[in-house]
Symmetry: C2
Subunit: 322 residues, 2 copies
């Protein structure tokens, strides 16, 4: 084990973008984030999440590109609390290595610090561990925890979803951070180098595109319509995640737009449509359930993908895969 500071990362160098961005970390046992702003809330609720980015790290190592991993883990965490209406405050990282590579640790923690700065939150601390007996040779794992805050009366949790609500979807930037064990069981090094038609980038580059951050999209949508439920589409796919915010007696009926090329390519390798839908976001990284109003709901990148109806079925989500 090494202390966070010994990874050689200067937290002070991160650009200051918000009041949460001035933690004291260097030399301390715990990171400190001033939180007087919480006193302005009537009933502050702290919303937190722990997430890993799985074997996407392994693909990054294989292709020697670590720069996007910070956005992967930070955005994954930010999205998981933003879907409840929370404003992110600070982040802590966890890096574990077979053997600690100073250079790789520096690049990954640097990318985490950059990702925190760009979403305006503090990197409050972290842990870096070396465990040759636990990790396979050359392997590493990246995870993180986030903490944010929401006014209790403004929590979004799906409880206000009703029949007649419209379901909107926002594009993902690719597979985000799910399904990479499956992906790496399918493709070869030669596959990763091949340029994807119509994109100008290789399959490897496409697979390493960072997990998209939806915090500002959520804020924008809430500014113009009544949002009843939000689902971050991670492991479990659209049905598995959207069902978490659909109340008893209701069902979301979803018809997906055509799958992006990346998912078609994976599907062509013999992965069944049902398995594809269970593992991947299939091009939709965030789903919103909203009350329709006169001015219409879709706008910008948001596209209507379904609606809410009454149902006695135990299936909260009916997903059309055609």
């Amino acid at each position: 084990m090494t202390t966070y500071a010994s990874a050689g990362v200067s937290l002070e160098s991160a650009t200051s973008l918000s009041s949460w961005l001035n933690p004291r970390v260097g030399g301390l046992f715990g990171g400190m984030v001033p939180a007087s702003a919480l006193k302005e809330y009537d009933h502050p609720v702290l919303v937190s999440s722990m997430d890993g980015i799985g074997t996407k790290v392994r693909l990054a190592r294989r292709l020697g590109r670590f720069e996007g991993l910070g956005q992967d883990v930070v955005h994954h965490c930010v999205n998981d609390i933003a879907v409840h209406g929370a404003q992110p405050m600070f982040f802590l990282d966890y890096l574990a290595f077979h053997r600690l590579g100073e250079e790789i640790a520096r690049r990954i923690v640097g990318s985490i610090a950059d990702a925190c700065a760009s979403v305006g939150i503090a990197l409050a601390g972290g842990e870096t561990a070396e465990m040759p007996l636990v990790y396979r040779e050359g392997e590493l794992d990246v995870a993180g925890a986030i903490v944010g805050v929401v006014e209790q009366s403004e929590i979004i949790d799906g409880s206000s979803v009703t029949a007649g609500d419209v379901v909107l979807g926002l594009p993902s930037s690719g597979a985000h951070t799910n399904g990479y064990s499956l992906i790496q069981a399918i493709f070869t090094d030669a596959d990763y180098e091949r340029v994807m038609p119509g994109s100008g980038i290789s399959l490897g580059e496409m697979l390493l595109l960072p997990h998209r951050c939806y915090a500002s999209d959520i804020q924008e949508l809430r500014g113009r319509v009544e949002v009843h439920g939000l689902a971050h589409i991670t492991g479990g796919g659209i049905a598995g995640n959207l069902s978490r915010v659909i109340p008893d007696g209701l069902q979301a009926v979803i018809e997906l737009p055509p799958w992006p090329t990346l998912f078609q390519r994976i599907h062509e390798h013999g992965i069944a449509r049902e398995e594809m839908a269970r593992v991947f976001n299939l091009g939709i990284g965030l789903v919103a359930v909203c009350r329709p109003n006169s001015s219409g709901l879709a706008g910008g990148e948001w596209q209507p993908i379904g609606y809410i109806r009454e149902s006695r079925s135990e299936r909260r989500v009916e997903l059309g895969l055609s």
Copy 2:
């Protein structure tokens, strides 16, 4: 990846001991902890820490005893923020497996939930990952993040430490969660089964004694003397950790009591005294720097182990190992 809920742990079953113990987790993307109590602080500062318990997990697996791992990771985290005077609020866990063993996951997360309940904090959520390509066969990793709060004016960080202060130590419960790669390079299965003289338990049982929680000891000490600095002794040993709270121009002079049998036994396997001091706590798990007063300082388990003097040396801690 599986969701936290699918690990089969009923968070509702944890005994309610404090106001932080009622998070909403089930089915949500982020865990929610009501934090209106923060409004009672003048200038609340959130103190957080991320910690792993390293290869102690591997020894637990080898000996088939997972029950103490919850206390290991939770107490490690609690101590890291309690040394700054913070009151812990909630915890998030991270479990990563070669292959997800439902039974083992259940036992570990159950022990984490119990440890959180016993220190009066919420288990706000967590992540469980399965990565056969990253972890060696049968291996797993356990980490966690904690968040607590302290009134800004009451932060303990060593800045008030002065020459003439007395240094006290509290016993550890063993190696806590540091040095287990070294330990497992030394001992054999037969060694683990041998009963340790004077203890009535085997070496294996002694090595799996949970990381001691110092939160109440710190509270008790602060109630009767002026505490200037506190150090949680983890990787880096007494010198490496105590030096984090010794200001410029000062030095802590420490004379350790005789090492407990466990550390003597490790030392006998050819580990140099200097290496022992760098890796292990050597029987002292928490160090406090205090202002002496008329009624004396030591009490209960606290024992005087040194003092603070002025010094131009770059060594913040002079550790006598005799």
